[in-house]
């Protein structure tokens, strides 16, 4: 396989640049064009392209499994039956083999170390009026990761929408993506935030006055699935890319970038808890998809964003 493939992704630019560089070391014959933007824009662009007739995209690599499922249901995805999935947990693989998780991103709590004396340890701690008043979270209307998180939370019997209603009533606000959250908390404008782990831990590593907590009730998880579009005009090269993504090289690289690996036998980044010590909240993907629109609406009604 050779030629050019176009990858639509919501993964950060510099990370993606490193990924492409590493990929090309193994596969110099394939040129990778990347189009990176937020999940919402990405899906909008894709939708417009479908309406106009075709899309130049060959591979999708996004955070939002719900959106991916939607694409699948619309018949846009290629079923890659013989993908080399050995070593991947079944939970991150689409039963129809149209998309495959590439890493694990969890959502937890960030707080400002200057403002917060006693660190929160659980999601429930956020509902205290003083805490909620100074809480910011990403909006599912802007962030794919937030979609999964909200959809997961509301499926948990102990939280549900009541949890968000409490937060909203107490004055918690929604920003746009996770970037806004880390920004607001690091600046001390907000004391607490809900955020994906690597962004918080990266900021901490660079010296921002923040710390991150994996709440004791569990974290929501995003698998950052990769998929091939059915209309791709270079399916062969796309397959090579997907194979590589779920292979060992890529997994080790993503650990270097601060992600939990998904492949058995690859260690998590230094300073991260062991993967099996983490409690991951379970969620039903089918229900997520079914409720997606309603959930976003409900969130928008609560938080205005």
């Amino acid at each position: 396989a050779s030629g050019t493939i176009t990858v639509y992704t919501s993964q950060p630019n510099d990370q993606m640049a490193a990924v492409v560089a590493a990929f090309n070391k193994d596969h110099p014959e394939i040129t990778v064009d990347v189009f990176r933007t937020g999940t919402t824009e990405l899906m909008t662009k894709l939708e417009a392209e479908f309406t106009a007739g075709s899309t130049p995209a060959d591979v999708m690599l996004i955070a939002d499994a719900v959106a991916m499922t939607k694409l699948k249901n619309e018949g846009r995805l290629y079923a890659y039956a013989d993908a080399p999935t050995a070593g991947l947990p079944e939970a991150v693989i689409d039963p129809d083999r149209t998309f495959f998780g590439t890493k694990l991103i969890t959502t937890g709590i960030i707080y400002n170390t200057n403002l917060v004396k006693t660190a929160p340890v659980s999601w429930a701690d956020l509902t205290a009026p003083d805490v909620a008043k100074s809480l910011i979270m990403p909006s599912p209307l802007y962030s794919g990761a937030a979609v999964i998180h909200v959809d997961t939370m509301v499926q948990q019997p102990e939280f549900g929408w009541k949890y968000y209603e409490t937060l909203a009533d107490a004055g918690a606000v929604a920003g746009q993506g996770n970037g806004t959250v880390v920004e607001a908390v690091a600046r001390g404008e907000k004391a607490y935030g809900i955020i994906i782990e690597y962004m918080a831990l990266n900021a901490k590593a660079k010296g921002s006055p923040v710390d991150f907590v994996f709440p004791k009730e569990g974290v929501s998880s995003i698998t950052q699935p990769v998929a091939i579009l059915k209309d791709s005009d270079n399916i062969d090269a796309a397959k090579v890319f997907v194979d590589w993504q779920i292979g060992k090289t890529a997994q080790e690289q993503s650990v270097g970038q601060g992600y939990f690996p998904i492949l058995a036998g690859v260690n998590p980044p230094a300073g991260y808890p062991a993967l099996d010590s983490l409690k991951i909240m379970s969620a039903d993907p089918a229900k997520m998809l079914a409720d997606d629109a309603a959930n976003k609406q409900k969130f928008a009604d609560l938080f205005g964003g």
Binding site: Y142, N202, G207
Partner: protein, 577 residues
């Protein structure tokens, strides 16, 4: 004339047709606007007419418009945009008056700073103000107004949105007014002084009324820009739970599904009609504006006399608040190792600059792309604007006025919507040529030109509406063809205004985000997209560094252009006299 034996000149041309080559020009303009604006938006709006879930015709429309969320967002948008226009005018008009009328030092620096809100990305501006108004505000702290820790920042509110959009669009008013004032003939002021009028009456009785068309032009642009603004409502409105139409559109986009484009198109139509009203108003004012004989000596700045010091102090205070503080905030962010780290001598680092400017080839490419695209868009829009304004306001051709109206539509819809429309029509291979421009720099250039035409048309139309028609008539009498008259007479006479427009376009396009976010492709990255991505990923140090670099870059460019200033028609550069 000593020698009359030289063969005499006979009448040029033999046509019986009256309009000569004008229809050709107008047809060309109509074609340009058709391709750039009418076709894409039309294609999009066709989606709006689609049937909704119930299957009724116009169902989509009634569904989208009947929801409570829509109603709230609609009124919020209307209120907030109108109020922010007031802010823009209240800031831009006095600044333009002060800088144009009085002899003050550092005009270049002042003008550049006044224009800088165009260059500072919304989110940076917002952050600076959030800091300024927030609990740890050094300024409010000094005044004893600082908020208690953890209180919600007052900027997350309608007032905050109004204020920030007001600042962001202030340069639109400023430049329009300034371009108008620099070419006013001095004798109009002198006559008033002779009549015993003091500064106050001269300003209120003569200058302001003469500047009204320019103010209206600037204000209507500011209104259109506010209505379509996404950045500020997203930054402040979401946490403030204050929905506006643009954020509503974004929410709808998020719904993702076949009906989404139609729904979005419906909302975009609403925005278009809101701004259309403002533009209609402007047309009425322009039609009433009187021709000014500008052959007299142009206005020279006054000595402010004993008001000099207070004036300079006031000017610099305002400019500091509006521009210097955000710029410093930006610079601070760019120099700190990570967000939230207190900046001290020991913590200052150039890492942000290094990682963005030196380490990344993509960023360098983005710089090159943004410069070429913005400059291209600036030149193209200025050219088209002069043509449209000439045929519409000087030659008074109805068709040209209509065309100009359509040309402004892409500015009013949110960038995302315009980008969608462009994808819809430019993804398939173009008719006749058979090539698709999708994924190339061309589509970005076209989209920029379309999006920012309005910025260029406004000031030029105002300037030409007050042009003494005999200046063009004399050219016609001498047999000069349309092209020559435009090139040699109209373009130089409109130069201050078209330069103002081009500068607006360049600066705005340089940071453009919402259109580019959907239309860029690998190889044609732009600065705006890069800054936003970095920010979005939580890497705000790098984002700030990139912003600082781009502002510095534009400053250098402005200084270079200033060097050419002597060769340009007087009044062309807004910071010169």
């Amino acid at each position: 004339m000593a020698d009359l034996s030289v063969p005499r000149v006979s009448p040029t041309g033999r046509q019986r047709v009256s309009r000569g080559d004008e229809p050709l020009f107008v047809a060309f303009l109509a074609l340009v606007v058709l391709v750039l604006a009418v076709w894409p938006l039309g294609r999009l709006f066709v989606e709006a007419l689609g049937t909704g879930e119930g299957g009724k015709s116009f169902g989509l429309m009634s569904e989208a418009l009947s929801s409570r969320a829509f109603e709230r967002a609609f009124w919020n948008t209307l209120e907030t945009s109108s109020a922010s226009v007031v802010v823009s005018v209240l800031l831009g008009l006095p600044l333009a008056l002060a800088i144009s009328l009085f002899r003050i030092g550092n005009r270049v620096a002042l003008t550049f700073l006044v224009l800088s809100p165009l260059l500072i990305p919304s989110q940076i501006m917002a952050l600076a103000w959030i800091e300024l108004m927030g609990s740890s505000s050094p300024l409010l702290g000094l005044l004893g107004f600082a908020q208690a820790q953890g209180e919600t920042n007052p900027l997350y509110s309608r007032g905050g949105i109004v204020w920030l959009m007001g600042i962001e669009h202030m340069p639109l008013v400023f430049l329009a007014v300034r371009a108008c004032l620099t070419t006013l003939p001095e004798d109009l002021i002198e006559a008033a002084r002779i009549g015993g009028a003091g500064m106050f009456r001269i300003v209120t009785g003569v200058l302001l009324p003469l500047a009204v068309p320019a103010v209206v032009a600037g204000a209507s642009l500011a209104f259109a820009a506010s209505v379509g603004n996404f950045g500020v409502p997203a930054l402040l409105g979401i946490p403030g739970r204050y929905p506006m139409l643009t954020t509503l559109i974004y929410q709808r986009l998020n719904g993702f599904g076949p009906a989404v484009i139609g729904q979005v198109a419906v909302l975009a139509l609403v925005l278009v009609s809101m701004a259309g009203v403002a533009l209609g108003l402007r047309a009425i004012v322009l039609r009433r504006s009187a021709p000014i004989d500008r052959s007299g000596r142009p206005l020279a700045p006054f000595e402010a006399g004993r008001f000099h010091r207070p004036l300079v102090f006031a000017l610099w205070s305002v400019v500091t608040l509006l521009s210097v503080v955000p710029l410093l905030a930006l610079l601070g962010a760019a120099l700190s190792p990570a967000v939230g780290v207190r900046l001290g001598l020991d913590s200052v680092t150039l890492a942000g600059f290094r990682s963005t400017l030196i380490d990344s080839a993509t960023v360098r490419r983005a710089f090159a792309n943004s410069i070429l695209l913005s400059a291209g868009a600036a030149v193209a829009t200025a050219g088209i604007a002069v043509l449209l304004a000439y045929f519409g306001t000087v030659r008074r051709l109805m068709v040209a006025r209509r065309v100009a109206w359509f040309a402004e539509l892409p500015f009013i819809v949110p960038g995302t919507v315009l980008a969608l429309a462009y994808i819809l029509v430019f993804l398939p291979p173009l008719p006749l040529i058979g090539v698709s421009i999708y994924g190339s720099a061309t589509i970005l250039l076209l989209a920029y030109v379309a999006r920012f035409l309005a910025l260029a048309i406004g000031p030029v139309q105002t300037a030409l509406a007050s042009l003494d028609p005999s200046l063009d008539e004399m050219g016609r009498i001498l047999g000069a063809r349309t092209f020559r008259r435009i090139a040699r007479l109209i373009a130089p006479l409109a130069a201050p205004a078209s330069a103002a427009g081009a500068i607006l376009v360049f600066m705005t396009a340089f940071n453009e985000l919402t259109v580019s976010a959907l239309l860029w492709s690998s190889g044609v990255e732009t600065i705006g997209v890069m800054v936003f991505s970095l920010q979005y990923e939580g890497n705000s140090t790098a984002a700030a560094a990139l912003s600082v670099a781009s502002i510095g870059f534009v400053l250098v460019l402005a200084l270079l252009v200033d060097r050419l200033g002597n060769r340009l028609p007087s009044g062309t550069l807004p910071w010169r006299h």
